[in-house]
């Protein structure tokens, strides 16, 4: 156990050296840049999501900077911090960003447990724009300067469960979810909703964020002989293995992926085994949106990955933050910036977006299905 601690502190040291190196980049410019802390998982199971988040933000920032920046010529500078897919590390990254590096705002979070812990550090201290977490409490128990872009599990699930019940012709289901705040709330809510609309929920199994093999859980689920399996896996690396192992164990039923967790990389990694899988997503490429098209071009110029929902969500988070700072005429008067975010409609790579009083974002979302290896939109979900 002793060694685990050593390992962590070495990581922290390496990360802070990297940060110091990054922080000196901005000096050459005439006007000081607006410095945004991007606190994302850059190691651990969520590494890929974190990388896509950084890339999405950098592509969006490049577009804004090319047009002259915000607040009369200030460029946007993104400073990456690694939350290592863990709440403790997320909290310490937020502290460093606020106290040592004195950033202008925090834009980040892929997973609920980290956002839930981090919001207590940012509470009434700094603008905190949470990107992908779906746990309702992130905003329900948020603070006056906290905003969240993604739909909550409740908002998304209400619509999606209705679709599963009425359009998919299924009688029974088993749930496989990650054992964290997000997975547990997904499992609890869908278990309830699907039961309420007449489906039989025969079992719920959980896996850990560090698992690489899911045969044990899936064997148990296969034994329940359900028409469908509902999978709530937030990391692409785990999702891909799950979809493969479902088919490797000979399961022939319908598979449904939890909302927002469908992306081109997942399809590439899962191969044929993800064919026909349903999900719900606010980011689809087959719906017309010029802002998204420009962003995709910029993204393709800079990065190898295909764009995904989490990349788009991160880009939208940056667009909203930068736009609101510009409208409010300040990068540090959070009262004014927060009022600007609440008071306006935002055109983002995810389409038109609004925020309510507690900072919850509203966006369009779609029912999608994997057909011939492509994410295909089948209906509007909300």
């Amino acid at each position: 156990m002793q060694f685990g601690i050593k390992r962590k502190s070495l990581f922290a040291f390496a990360a802070s050296v990297a940060l110091l190196a990054g922080a000196t980049d901005g000096f050459a410019q005439a006007k000081p840049p607006v410095r945004l802390a991007a606190i994302l998982p850059l190691s651990g199971a969520g590494t890929f999501e974190g990388q896509q988040g950084i890339e999405g933000m950098q592509a969006a920032a490049a577009i804004i900077n090319d047009k002259g920046g915000i607040l009369g010529g200030r460029k946007i500078e993104i400073i990456p911090y690694d939350d290592k897919s863990s709440p403790e590390e997320g909290v310490s990254a937020a502290r460093r960003a606020i106290e040592q590096d004195k950033v202008d705002a925090i834009v980040g979070n892929m997973f609920s447990p980290i956002a839930l812990a981090m919001k207590e550090v940012t509470r009434d201290k700094i603008l905190h724009v949470a990107l992908a977490p779906q746990h309702p409490k992130v905003t329900e128990e948020g603070h006056k300067w906290l905003f969240r872009l993604n739909e909550t599990t409740i908002m998304r699930g209400g619509n999606f469960s209705k679709f599963i019940c009425t359009k998919m012709n299924l009688k029974s289901v088993a749930i496989l979810a990650i054992n964290d705040d997000y997975g547990r709330s997904e499992a609890g809510n869908y278990g309830k909703w699907l039961q309420e609309c007449g489906m039989q929920v025969k079992g719920t199994e959980f896996f850990q964020g560090t698992d690489t093999d899911f045969n044990v859980q899936l064997t148990k689920i296969r034994g329940l002989q359900t028409d469908a399996i509902y999978v709530a896996a937030s990391a692409t690396s785990q999702g891909a293995t799950i979809y493969r192992q479902i088919r490797q164990l000979g399961y022939k039923g319908t598979v449904v992926a939890s909302g927002g967790n469908m992306n081109p990389k997942l399809i590439e990694l899962s191969g044929n085994s993800i064919e026909g899988v349903y999900s719900v997503s606010p980011y689809v490429e087959d719906v017309e949106n010029p802002i998204a098209a420009a962003w995709r071009t910029e993204y393709a110029k800079r990065f190898k990955n295909a764009t995904s929902f989490v990349a788009a969500l991160s880009a939208a988070g940056l667009e909203v933050t930068a736009g609101a700072m510009d409208k409010a005429g300040t990068s540090t008067d959070y009262e004014k910036i927060a009022a600007a975010i609440r008071g306006n409609q935002w055109n983002t790579v995810l389409g038109d977006m609004k925020f309510n009083n507690i900072g919850q974002g509203f966006l369009a979302s779609y029912i999608v299905q994997v057909k011939n290896g492509k994410i295909t939109t089948t209906a509007r979900a909300n």
Binding site: S43, D213, L249, G271
Partner: protein, 288 residues
């Protein structure tokens, strides 16, 4: 009921055999060189990535890629031994431990830099086709893991037991100074041991890789499981590693099924605590 039991038994057996393959190298390096190698998991990771790149860049067949990965990573292991561990042989054990920890960080973070953070899939032709044995589904890949691991472990056992080098390894493990005095070339013994251990870790990565997806930090998982197995079986004991790995795999699968999946990892640590209370040096500890 029976169907689930046998499937879980098969799952546990395959996972356990994977653990064995990783743990045998770790226990060898400890037994012969007295090094607790924290970087052992990273050689597992390198094995899986070497397989991936051999297939995608050189276009070779999966089986060829596995062999290439094993040989190349064994070479990397020899290099690591020459550059890092050999010069430090007379230093305090703690120094060597820190160096192995440093090596593991460099390899894992270097892996993210060089290979990229995005997960990758080794497209083995055996990965998706399953065989039905009664109610038990096993992919060919998992059968290959079982067979290849068994063969490799037997070969390593025969090598250590009957070849000249194997006997020198045993002598070095028992008494380094005594072996050196009676003419054993300790440098060669260390080189061979490292090559063998890293080659086995790489083979494990190459064989288990296609059963999931790979990313540069999978070594952390591998070394953790290997440590549980080695501590349970007795540090430095090969028989202990084999028994420990199989026990861990099977108990994890059955325990998760019949007790609770939430305890899957806790079960592993639970067995270790129980074994250590009962036999503090591990199940199969070599007599001191």
């Amino acid at each position: 009921m029976g169907a689930v039991f046998f499937q879980q038994l098969a799952n546990g057996l395959v996972n356990g055999m994977g653990y064995v393959l990783i743990a045998v190298g770790l226990t060898l390096v400890f037994g012969v060189l007295r090094i607790v190698n924290f970087a052992h998991g990273e050689f597992y990771m390198l094995g899986s990535f070497a397989t991936f790149f051999a297939m995608s860049l050189l276009g070779v067949h999966y089986i060829v890629a596995v062999l290439m990965a094993t040989v190349v990573v064994a070479g990397v292991g020899v290099l690591a031994n020459q550059v890092l561990f050999r010069p430090l042989r007379r230093e305090h054990e703690f120094t060597i431990l820190m160096v192995s920890l440093g090596l593991s960080l460099v390899l894992a973070n270097g892996g993210e830099l060089v290979f990229g953070a995005d997960p990758k899939y080794i497209s083995s032709p055996f990965a998706d086709d399953a065989v039905e044995l009664g109610s038990v589904f096993l992919t060919w890949q998992r059968i290959i893991v079982l067979v290849a691991a068994s063969v490799l472990i037997c070969l390593v056992y025969l090598f250590i037991r009957f070849t000249r080098m194997g006997k020198m390894m045993q002598a070095t493990a028992q008494n380094r100074e005594g072996a050196a005095l009676s003419g054993v070339n300790i440098d060669w013994v260390h080189t061979y041991t490292f090559a063998l251990a890293c080659g086995l870790a790489a083979a494990a990565g190459a064989l288990l890789g296609p059963t999931a997806v790979i990313f540069p930090t999978i070594g952390e998982w591998a070394v953790l499981k290997a440590f549980i197995v080695v501590v349970m079986g007795g540090l430095g004991s090969m028989g202990g590693a084999v028994a420990g790995g199989l026990i861990l795999g099977i108990v994890e699968a059955l325990g998760a099924n019949y007790i609770s999946i939430a305890f899957k990892d806790a079960i592993g640590y639970g067995i270790v605590v129980a074994v250590l209370l009962w036999r503090p040096a591990g199940l199969f500890a070599p007599r001191q």
